[in-house]
Amino acid sequence: MQIDFLAKKKMPYCPGCGHHASNLNLAKALEKSGYNLLDVIIVSDIGCSGLIDENMACHTVHGLHGRVVALATGIAYALANKNKKVIAIQGDGGATIGLQHLLVAARRNVNMTLLVLNNNVYGMTGGQLSGLSNTSLKEKILHDEAYYPPFDITEMAYQSGAVYASKIMAKGEFSDKLGEAIKTEGFSVVEIIGPCPAYAYNSIKEMMELGYEEKVLTNTRPFVAPQFYERSSLFDSKNAIERQFSAKISNKLSILLGGSAGEGVQLAADLLAQAGLSCGLNNTKKGEYPITVGTGFSLAEVIMSNDPIYYTGIEKADVAIVTSQDGWEMVKSRVNEFTKLFVDETIDTGTVDYGVKLPFREKVGRKSAVLCAIAYWMSHSGVVPVDALVKTFAGHKHEEKLLEAVNTGISM
C-alpha cells in the first residue's frame, strides 16, 4: 500500500520557493523508503524551513531556532531504535546559529538525517545574510561581508565524521538523492541549494550559475547505538561503619584541619569523621581547596556531636590541626585562645603564641603529617580513641603507611 507522508497538498511557502521542492521530494523519498508513517519523526527548526511540520503526516516536533540537530539528537538517543527514522530540517540560518550541534552530531555519528535547506538567506526575518551565504549575494546586500567566504556545511559535516554528506541542487526530481541519506545508518546530511524568490535568488536556474558543486562524501565508520544500562544502587558499594567505640565529648566538637594540596588533608578528615561515627557520634565533613586542586591550601572541617548537627559551618574551632604554612593562612583567623591548636614546627604563626608546636612533617613526611598530628591530639586528649581511627583504614591500600603515621603521633 502506498503511504502518503504528506498531510496536505497545499504548501505554505511563497511561489517558487525552493522549500516546496525539498518538502515534496522528502515526502516522496520517505514513501519509497519503506518506513511506516509513525516510524518517522520530523524535527524542524524556526524559519521558513520549519513550516514543514504541518505538511507532514508522520510525528513532528517543532523546536527553537538553530537547535534542531541537538533536539533531534535527544530523540534519536532516546529511541535507540534502528527502525525509527529521525529527520531534522533547518535552513542555512539555523545551520549557522546551531553549527556546533551539527558538528557534534556528525562527530558522534547520531542515527539521524539532517536536511539543510540552503537558500543563502534568513527568509523569515527579511533576507539577512547567513554563514552560508554566497559571495555574489553578499556583494549585493552587504559588500564588506564579501571578504569572508561561506561555510561549506557539507564538507564540515564530512570532516566531522558524517557517514554520508551530500550537496545537491533543488532541481527536478531528487527524492532518490534524499533516499540515499535516509537509508544511511548513523549521521547523514544533505545540503539542498534552493532559491528564496522573496529575498535572494529567483530560481534554481539562477543558482546553477553560482558555482555550487554537487557532491557525495562518505566516511566508513561503525554505528554504535547509545546504551541504557541497569545499574546498581550507589549504596551497595558503601561499607557500613560499626558503632563500636565510645567518645568523651560533652556536646559538640568543631575541628579544623589545614595543610597543603596533596598532603592527605581530605583523606585524614574523612577518616576522622568515620572514627567519630564509629563512636556513635553525629559527624559532618567538608573540604575547601582552590580550583586548581593540585596546589595551594587544603582545608577540612569536621564536626562531631552527640546531638544532631544542623548548621555545618564552624563559627569557632575547638580544635585546629595545621601542618603547612598554606593551611595556616586559611586557619589563623578562625582560632582563638580557647582553640586546642596543634601546628607543625615549620610554620610561622606570627603573633599567635598559644598551641603546641611539634615536628610532624619531619617525623612522618608531608603526606602523613596531618594524620600523625590527629593521632597525637587523640592520644593526648582521649576524646576519641585512637583505635577508632586505626579501624577506619583497615584494608586501605596504604594501611601500613597510615598506621606508621598514627603510631608516630601517639609516641610524640
Binding site: H59, A70, A240, I291, I309, Y311, G313
Partner: protein
C-alpha cells in the same frame, strides 16, 4: 527474651549521592551533563547510577538533548549552576511550552556573572520566577536539609511527570558537598513515578487537556497515534497558530495547571512556638542555621516560630497567611538582594517583615540569635 536489634547501616554520605540515588529510584532514567562547579559531585554520581549518561558540549546542547529525550518518553535530569542555567533559559521555555517533564538541579553559587565558583550563595530565586517569558511559572523546590536531599527530588520528579512540566530544584554547594554520618536504613522507600500514556480513541490531540488541565502524553515514535510536539504557540493538535482563541487558551493553561495542582506539591516545615510573636522564614542552606538558632531559643525558654520553605514557586498559600499572622517576621536568606522578600512583596515591604541577608558566606546561628533578640 532476646531483644531484636534494630537494623542500621551507618555510613558517611553526602547530599549529592542522596539526590542522584533518590532520583533514579523515582524513575529518572537519562542524565546529560556539562560540567560546572559546584554541581560536579552530582554529575560524578549520576555517571555511576543513571541508566543513560552522556556528556554534552555545552549547556544549550544539554537541555536540547534532554528535551528530545523527554519528547520520546524518557524522564531526564541535569545539574548546573547559574552560568549554565543562563544558557538553558530559551530551552526551558521550549520544554515548558512543549509540556515535557524534566528536573534541573541548580547548584547556586556566588554571582553576578561567573562570580566565584566555589563560594556558596543562594541568589537565583528571582531568575527562576523570571525564566519563562510572560511571567509564567514552573514548580521550583528548595532543599533545606540533608533529609530533603532524599525526599525532595522524587517529589519534584513526580510533579514534573504528572504536571508535564520542567521543575527546578535549588540547592547550593554547602548542601551537596558536605558529607554526614547517616543511617541509610532510615531513608523512606521511594515510590517510582508511573508515566501515564494516552489510551483513548483516535483522534489523539497531543495538547487537548483533561479535566486536570493536563494533556495526556504519548511519546514521538509511538506506533498508535501521530504526535505533534510544538514549542511555538499552538492549538490542541500541536499545530502552530497565532492568536487564535484555542492557541491562546492553550498557552494560558500552562500557568493554570501549575496553580491548580499547587496543593499536591506544596512542601514546607512549620515549627510553631506557642505564644511566640516572632516568625523566622527561610529556605535552602540557611534553614540549618535557623533550626539551630530556634533550638537554642527553645532551650532558653523563649521560643521562636520557624517556617522553612521547600516549595518556593508557586508560593503555598499557607506562607502568606502565616507571615501575616505574626507581629515580627524575619526573612533570612543567603543573598544580598533579599530574593524571597522581593519575590513575595516586591518593593512594598510590610512593616512586620524584616530581612536578614549575607553575601558570599553562610549566615551563622549567632547572627540569627542576635537578630531575634533585637526583635524582642
Amino acid at each position: 527474651m532476646v531483644e531484636e536489634k534494630e537494623k542500621t547501616k551507618w555510613v558517611m554520605t553526602d547530599g549529592s549521592e542522596l539526590i542522584i540515588e533518590s532520583l533514579v529510584r523515582a524513575g529518572a532514567n537519562a542524565y546529560v551533563n556539562y560540567p560546572i562547579t559546584p554541581s560536579n559531585w552530582l554529575n560524578a554520581f549520576a555517571l555511576k547510577r543513571f541508566p543513560f549518561f552522556m556528556p554534552a558540549p555545552d549547556e544549550i546542547t544539554t537541555l536540547q538533548w534532554l528535551c528530545g529525550m523527554a519528547a520520546a518518553g524518557k524522564i531526564p535530569v541535569t545539574a548546573t549552576s547559574f552560568p549554565g542555567y543562563a544558557l538553558m533559559i530559551e530551552t526551558m521555555n521550549e520544554v515548558y511550552m512543549m509540556e515535557l517533564p524534566m528536573v534541573i538541579i541548580l547548584v547556586q553559587r556566588l554571582g553576578p556573572s561567573t562570580g566565584s565558583a566555589t563560594v556558596g550563595a543562594e541568589g537565583d530565586l528571582l531568575v527562576m520566577n523570571g525564566t519563562i517569558s510572560g511571567g509564567f511559572q514552573f514548580p521550583v523546590f528548595s532543599i533545606s536539609s540533608f533529609e530533603d536531599c532524599w525526599n525532595i527530588p522524587p517529589k519534584a520528579l513526580k510533579t514534573a511527570v504528572e504536571l508535564r512540566t520542567p521543575v527546578v530544584i535549588l540547592t547550593s554547594k554547602e548542601m551537596i558537598m558536605t558529607s554526614r554520618s547517616f543511617d541509610l536504613e532510615k531513608l523512606h522507600a521511594v515510590e517510582p513515578v508511573k508515566m501515564k500514556y494516552f489510551t483513548g480513541e483516535a483522534p489523539y490531540k497531543p495538547y487537548k487537556p483533561n479535566e486536570d488541565l493536563i494533556p495526556e502524553f504519548l511519546p514521538v515514535g509511538n506506533e498508535q497515534h501521530q504526535v505533534r510536539i510544538n514549542s511555538s504557540t499552538h492549538d490542541h493538535a500541536g499545530m502552530i497558530k497565532k492568536a487564535t482563541p484555542e492557541a491562546i487558551g492553550n498557552s494560558l493553561r500552562l500557568q493554570e495547571k501549575i496553580e491548580k495542582h499547587i496543593d499536591s506539591y506544596s512542601i514546607y516545615t512549620f515549627i510553631e512556638a506557642p505564644e511566640s510573636e516572632t516568625l523566622i522564614v527561610t529556605y535552602g542552606i540557611t534553614s540549618e542555621a535557623c533550626r539551630e538558632s530556634v533550638c537554642r531559643c527553645g532551650k532558653s525558654g523563649k521560643g521562636v516560630s520557624l517556617l522553612i520553605l521547600n516549595t518556593l514557586i508557586p508560593l503555598p498559600k499557607f506562607v502568606i497567611e502565616t507571615m501575616n499572622s505574626y507581629r515580627n517576621v524575619i526573612v533570612i536568606e543567603e543573598n544580598s538582594q533579599a530574593n524571597l522578600v522581593r519575590y513575595i512583596y516586591g518593593v512594598n515591604l510590610p512593616t512586620n517583615v524584616k530581612k536578614m541577608n549575607a553575601f558570599g558566606r553562610m549566615i551563622t546561628p549567632s547572627e540569627i540569635m542576635k537578630e531575634i533578640a533585637s526583635c524582642r
